[in-house]
């Protein structure tokens, strides 16, 4: 008796959603942290300027 190949497409989509979604989230987290540091640097620079005055 011939066995048919199971339809596992939904698992394929779920698997690649996790892989690519996880990667994307990590890249976004790097960008968010970079921007947060830039913001903090600006605040520090302002404090430093006001202290010099």
């Amino acid at each position: 008796m011939m066995e048919t190949t199971p339809d596992t497409t939904a698992y394929l989509i779920a698997g690649y959603s996790v892989i690519l979604g996880g990667l994307l989230l990590y890249v976004i987290s790097l960008m968010v942290r970079w921007r947060a540091l830039a913001r903090e640097e600006r605040v520090l620079a302002e404090i430093e300027r006001s202290e010099k005055k």
């Binding site: 190949t5 339809d7 497409t9 394929l12 690649y16 892989i19 790097l30 970079w34």
Partner: protein, 235 residues
């Protein structure tokens, strides 16, 4: 002060990594044939193994960075170590979850206490502890020393995880070399499958180095800011 703009080398590496991952994706979906027993879900294998590979590579790099820090006492090596561990944890988690999704139709379960799954989870937890414990050390020098020693000891979990499916009774398939007779979900790779697999490994490896450089830049910027903050508090 960290330059806000990406250096040319980093730009080229990032673009190359993005291109390689895109081509790898095309190979996975357009070039590699469908496996007849498992069906479409077998395609998860290419990026799942590549993620697991990057996870292990990251922890090995963190251990090497640990050794380099203890020898040279250069702050950059500590930043490489902590950055590599973070990336390794992300890819390790991706490998665990994507493997679980692959296992559902193939093993008929999301999770089983198989040696490979257990050792991978232990490896992930060991490095989660690294991140948590590191945060508890205030003095930067002590924190770096602790991180270096921990990464060197922690890397023992990598060969244990890698070899677990080769030496222990397991249902996890072995990609390279021969596995246990009880393994379920293994398959013979045709040349297009092997080419796609090796290309995915290459693409993910290049992506790892690109992410590592970005993460180290972030860590250096955070450290510079911390020092500025400390200077301001003292003034």
């Amino acid at each position: 002060m960290i330059d806000q703009k990406w250096p040319l080398g980093l730009k080229i590496l990032t673009a190359t990594a993005a291109l390689l991952v895109f081509v790898a994706g095309c190979l996975v979906f357009l070039y590699a044939p469908r496996e007849i027993v498992m069906g479409e879900v077998q395609r998860v294998f290419y990026f799942h193994v590549a993620s697991a590979w990057v996870g292990m590579l990251s922890f090995v790099v963190a251990a090497v960075a640990g050794v380099m820090y203890l020898v040279r006492r250069t702050r950059t090596w500590d930043l490489v170590g902590v950055s590599s561990v973070e990336i390794g944890m992300v890819f390790g988690l991706i490998a665990i979850v994507s493997g679980s999704i692959w296992a559902r139709p193939v093993w008929n379960t999301w999770w089983t206490w198989d040696p490979r799954l257990v050792t991978t989870t232990i490896m992930e937890l060991v490095y989660a502890a690294y991140v948590l414990l590191r945060q508890g050390v205030e003095d930067p020098e002590r924190r770096a020393r602790f991180g270096a020693v921990y990464a060197i000891v922690g890397v023992l979990t990598v060969p244990i995880t890698f070899l677990s499916i080769r030496f222990l009774r397991t249902i996890h398939p072995v990609v390279i070399g021969s596995g246990d007779a009880a393994a379920q979900g293994g398959f013979d790779m045709t040349p297009p499958m092997l080419q796609t697999f090796l290309f995915s490994l290459l693409a993910f490896s290049v992506m790892y180095f690109a992410l590592l450089l970005h993460r180290v830049r972030l860590a250096r910027r955070a450290e510079a800011l911390e020092m500025r903050r400390a200077d301001l508090a003292m003034a």
